[in-house]
């Protein structure tokens, strides 16, 4: 079942950025658990390309917060070995694109060892990286690779869209005894939101209903949650009430919240910054089509990145990635479909 958003009274709540929320989670957990250490490129004194580790090096020192050479495969492989030896490493790959350099260690080693060792070894390892594009990061720094992690048994995948979610999910990741691929969004690090001072954790496998609605269910991922919410506000003016769901984790995946919503609205649109083919959007469509086809009043619709490499030019880049306008017009079409 979905987890309701916390009651947020703006003045009682602290507002911090997505990057700061991630840092807070790491600080709290690293203070609590000495087995956690953090490695990656530029994550030490510099605090990370996106300030995603700011302050950790100063507090925990170079033993537990280590800048690495440019060797993603070894970063991930060392993470696996350290996890087997009793540590709980966080390996920050920084740009999700470069997870490709490390993918064999994550998929062939990290995800399999608990199973093939008959449960004898655990691999408590967080692979952290930031996906998506921001300000023309171009074809090699803008990818949205998560579908293939969702594909793999033995991996958990977290995909936070708000500061509140980053903090709660990161804390959970750092207490999980499995490999967790934790995917931030580059475009969200500066986004602010309420984050309580009191400790909280967000369990994996609980979607968040970010907005309730009656006519159409929009399942949106990562940064697209924000665009879907903006679209929903505009759609309201057209008399269309959209429910916006953020799965928050891809594995485990909360199908129930989506199925319950679709049973109510009868319509499903999925918004994903990744490509459509074999993507998470395809999986969500398959879940609903196989389990709730007769709840649907119109065909499932997907709004995804258009199938081309990420262009540098802002005009092309903005065209390729789902925009608020595109979401508004395509959701309106689905909502009005009486076929």
């Amino acid at each position: 079942m979905s987890q309701a958003e916390p009651e947020i009274s703006q003045d009682a709540q602290r507002v911090i950025t997505y990057a700061e929320a991630g840092v807070e989670a790491l600080q709290e957990e690293m203070r609590r658990d000495p087995s956690i250490f953090y490695i990656g490129q530029g994550i030490g004194p510099r605090g990370g390309n996106f300030q995603q580790s700011r302050g950790l090096w100063a507090e925990f020192g170079g033993d537990r917060v280590r800048d690495t050479p440019i060797a993603e495969r070894a970063q991930a492989g060392l993470g696996v070995g350290a996890a087997l030896a009793g540590s709980h490493p966080v390996v920050d790959i920084v740009f999700l694109d470069f997870v490709l350099e490390a993918i064999c260690e994550i998929i062939q080693q990290a995800s399999t060892i608990h199973y093939i060792s008959d449960g004898k070894f655990k691999v408590p390892l967080v692979i952290r990286a930031a996906g998506g594009g921001v300000r023309s990061t171009g074809p090699h720094h803008s990818h949205t690779f998560y579908s293939f992690f969702m594909h793999i048994p033995g991996l958990k995948v977290a995909l936070p869209s708000t500061p509140y979610d980053v903090k709660g999910l990161m804390k959970t990741a750092l207490r999980d005894q499995n490999p967790v691929v934790f995917i931030d969004h580059k475009g969200l690090y500066g986004v602010k939101g309420p984050v309580p001072k009191e400790e909280y954790l967000i369990p994996f496998g609980k979607a968040a209903i970010k907005r309730t609605g009656e006519h159409v269910t929009i399942v949106a991922l990562s940064q697209m949650v924000h665009r879907a919410l903006q679209a929903a506000t505009l759609l309201e003016k057209q008399g269309i009430s959209a429910e916006v769901i953020d799965p928050r984790t891809l594995a485990p995946f909360d199908s129930e919240t989506i199925l319950t919503s679709v049973a109510k609205t009868g319509r499903l649109v999925i918004v994903d910054e990744a490509y459509a083919a074999c993507g998470v959007s395809a999986e969500i469509a398959a879940i609903v089509a196989t389990q709730a086809l007769y709840d649907l009043d119109s065909p499932i619709h997907r709004i995804c990145a258009l199938p081309a490499p990420h262009a540098f030019s802002p005009s092309l880049d903005n065209y390729l990635i789902p925009s608020v306008d595109r979401i508004v017009s395509e959701v309106a079409r689905v909502a009005k479909d009486r076929s």
């Binding site: 070894a74 060392l78 070995g81 350290a82 064999c104 199973y115 008959d118 033995g154």
Partner: protein, 322 residues
């Protein structure tokens, strides 16, 4: 080289014979058609795993390869649970879920053999990093073949360990071939030990068929790692007597004379002959070890052949841990 004690000679001898007899038995069972999968045996190379692991503590780590039965046994996984694993049976060290290339045992720090050529290098390096961060004096050993040293993971791993002074011993088992590919066709610089210079760490070429030499070099490397002085690369020159895996005769790409020459360098016989010539150990004492090991291996085979296959109701167990 310092003169070895009788106890040491007998224990290294026993270690090598146990691996050899284990592998001979595994081949026999494989040929009978009862063993699933395909196995890569370690016969001819026993001195390396034996000499290195004899210098390790139980809580030190080993990461291994596709040719990993010898490493597993030398690090302390029993012949019974190793053989049962080769059978895919529930009494195997990995409950039958891993098989020949995926033996695991946390009790003895065995971080797995591996179906992929180079990741053991990284896993051992990571275990060493963990030991360092935890301020423990454990060390880690990565065993890998000549085939791994031309892969990027070798460079990434050694560079990391050198830069961070990690307690790892990199043991390259250079048996001159990676499947049918001769090492000199895979690289210009066939002197693996010399590659250590690229990372400013010590590198030594060792006669991998001389268990006492391996043992001595390993002792230095392990002590150095334990003192916090960083990694060492040991290139152990050796040879596999048989094909790459059972089913490959290993004769289409290797000359008969070459195979014969290396068989003459049998590490088991060399140790035995030397100790007999030095009157350190008697023939009867060696024969007693042979008889003991034969019992252990026959018992392991019987045990493994009787052990049931995992029940399908467990097929989805252990995908995630709690």
């Amino acid at each position: 080289m310092v003169k070895p004690s009788k106890e040491l000679v007998l224990s290294l001898y026993r270690g090598m014979v146990e691996i050899r007899e284990f592998e001979m038995k595994a081949r026999e069972i494989f040929r009978s058609g009862k063993m699933p999968g395909f196995i890569h045996v370690y016969i001819g190379e026993e001195a390396i795993a034996t000499g290195i692991c004899a210098q390790l503590r139980k809580d030190d780590y080993v990461a291994s390869t596709h040719r990993g039965h010898g490493h597993a046994i030398a690090k302390g996984i029993s012949a019974r649970s190793s053989m049962a694993e080769l059978m895919g049976a529930i009494d195997g060290c990995s409950g039958g879920r891993g098989g020949t290339m995926h033996l695991y045992e946390p009790e003895v720090g065995f971080l797995g053999s591996n179906g992929v050529v180079p990741p053991g290098i990284l896993i051992a390096t990571g275990a060493a990093l963990s030991a360092k961060v935890r301020k423990s004096d454990q060390v880690a050993v990565a065993f890998f073949g000549d085939g791994a040293v031309n892969n990027g993971a070798f460079h990434e791993g050694l560079n990391f360990a050198a830069t961070w002074n990690l307690p790892v011993i990199y043991v390259c088992e250079n048996n001159l071939y990676a499947t049918e590919m001769p090492f000199e066709q895979a690289t210009k610089n066939t002197d693996v030990a010399s590659r250590a210079a690229a990372y400013k760490i010590p590198g030594y070429q060792v006669d991998g068929n001389n268990v006492l030499e391996v043992y001595e070099r390993a002792g230095e490397a392990v002590a150095r790692a334990r003192r916090g002085e960083g990694p060492t690369l040991l290139e152990c020159r050796t040879y596999r007597w048989f094909g790459h895996h059972e089913g490959d005769a290993g004769t289409s790409y290797r000359a008969k004379e070459e195979i014969a020459k290396w068989r003459e360098l049998d590490p088991v016989r060399r140790l035995r002959d030397k100790a007999l010539a030095d009157s350190l150990v008697t023939a009867e004492e060696f024969a007693q070890v042979d008889r003991d090991v034969e019992k252990v291996i026959n018992d392991a085979a019987e045990y493994a052949l009787k052990s049931p296959q995992p029940d399908v109701s467990t097929a989805l167990d252990h995908v995630f841990s709690n």
